[in-house]
């Protein structure tokens, strides 16, 4: 900002942003919720790594880990984590067509196609994980 310009407007009014600005609009709230649920994404990645370590450490370690997974509070926590993950994933996938603009010749691939592609990839990845777990 040009300081010389400011001199001629010595009494500008600048509104302060309230701490709870994200309650102003549903869209802001959804945004904050999406950002916060990324914590759960990080948690589930760590969980997966711990699980892999247990697998690597042998059947005894895996049994201990599985027993922990079956504890009631842990199951309850993981239901919450799953819901948060689903919310995060769905809201995130729905933003994908914004960033990815694919042109096929003259025409732009419609947003729905890009979105479906992402859902397809998600399904395929989940299928792969299920298949690996079955092995």
């Amino acid at each position: 900002m040009n300081p010389a310009y400011r001199r001629h407007h010595p009494k500008w009014y600048r509104a302060r942003m309230p701490i709870f600005w994200w309650f102003r609009k549903a869209a802001y709230f959804r945004f904050i919720a999406r950002e916060l649920t990324s914590v759960f994404v990080a948690y589930s990645s760590v969980l997966l790594l711990v699980q892999l370590r247990a697998v690597a450490a042998g059947p005894e370690a895996l049994a201990r880990f599985t027993a922990w997974l079956h504890l009631r509070p842990v199951v309850a926590l993981h239901v919450v984590v799953l819901l948060a993950l689903l919310f995060h994933t769905v809201t995130w996938l729905h933003l994908a067509p914004r960033a990815i603009v694919i042109r096929l010749g003259r025409r732009r691939v419609p947003d729905v196609a890009v979105l479906l592609g992402h859902y397809g990839a998600w399904l395929a990845a989940s299928g792969l994980v299920v298949w690996l777990l079955r092995l």
Partner: protein
């Protein structure tokens, strides 16, 4: 249908008050009136001291943007009828310093806009004798949506990031940079990337997405920013994997 409607206006008279205050006005209600018509009625018949900007009355000049009932809107394109029974609250655009009543200082936007060189940049300028820079309709279509921007700054007023981080270049500046980047006649992409990839450029955007929702010209600045992020990331990976190939 009501005979009159109450308009509440956030007024700020720097020589009289330290903080803005609300003032209520009663105006006649006409079905064909826009919010701007009500403001002009007040200015002409009730209170000549009310200050606000407008020019074209037809959604083209981009100067009549204000907060109407808390949402950024072009007042010349917002029917009063959609807001009755009221009261209708009108405030200056959020995120900008207020000079007086509904008039904001937009210098910050203009300064940032100039930084991304929103014009066609050529490495070497051709002479008039060499003719125009030709462009096909397909090449035009690639950037046309971004060229629709009227600088109304509703997208800034909708962006909480701009309010939280005043250094952020903001939606319209990035969309307009992209407008020139995608222009087949332009060669300024790299120079703009230096500005856009700064901390206050594209990476400050966390994709709230409200800029695109409020844009009256369907510019989709949020999309422009995300596309730009993707481009920048791909360029970075390419430079990492194939350092010699250049971009």
């Amino acid at each position: 249908m009501p005979q009159t409607v109450t308009i509440e206006i956030r007024r700020y008279r720097p020589e009289e008050e330290a903080e803005p205050t609300w003032q209520r006005y009663e105006v006649p209600f006409w079905r064909e009136w826009m919010v701007l018509d009500a403001l002009n009625y007040i200015k002409d018949h009730v209170d000549g001291t009310l200050s606000f900007r407008w020019s074209c009355r037809m959604g083209v000049c981009g100067s009549c943007g204000m907060m109407v009932n808390g949402n950024p809107a072009l007042t010349c394109a917002t029917y009063l009828e959609t807001l009755v029974p009221g009261p209708v609250q009108v405030e200056p655009l959020r995120g900008f310093p207020v000079i007086r009543d509904l008039v904001c200082d937009l210098t910050d936007f203009i300064t940032k806009l100039q930084r991304v060189q929103p014009w066609i940049v050529r490495e070497t300028e051709g002479t008039p004798a060499q003719g125009e820079y030709r462009q096909t309709p397909d090449e035009l279509a690639a950037y046309r949506p971004y060229a629709m921007c009227i600088n109304c700054l509703l997208c800034y007023a909708a962006c909480p990031i701009y309010e939280l981080e005043p250094g952020f270049l903001g939606p319209a500046v990035i969309a307009l940079a992209q407008r020139y980047n995608l222009d087949s006649r332009d060669q300024g992409r790299e120079a703009r990337m230096d500005v856009l990839s700064e901390h206050d450029g594209i990476w400050a955007c966390t994709l709230v997405g409200e800029c695109s929702t409020v844009c009256p010209k369907h510019v989709d600045p949020a999309g422009a920013i995300q596309r730009y992020k993707l481009d920048a990331a791909v360029a970075w990976v390419k430079a990492l994997v194939l350092p010699r190939s250049g971009r």
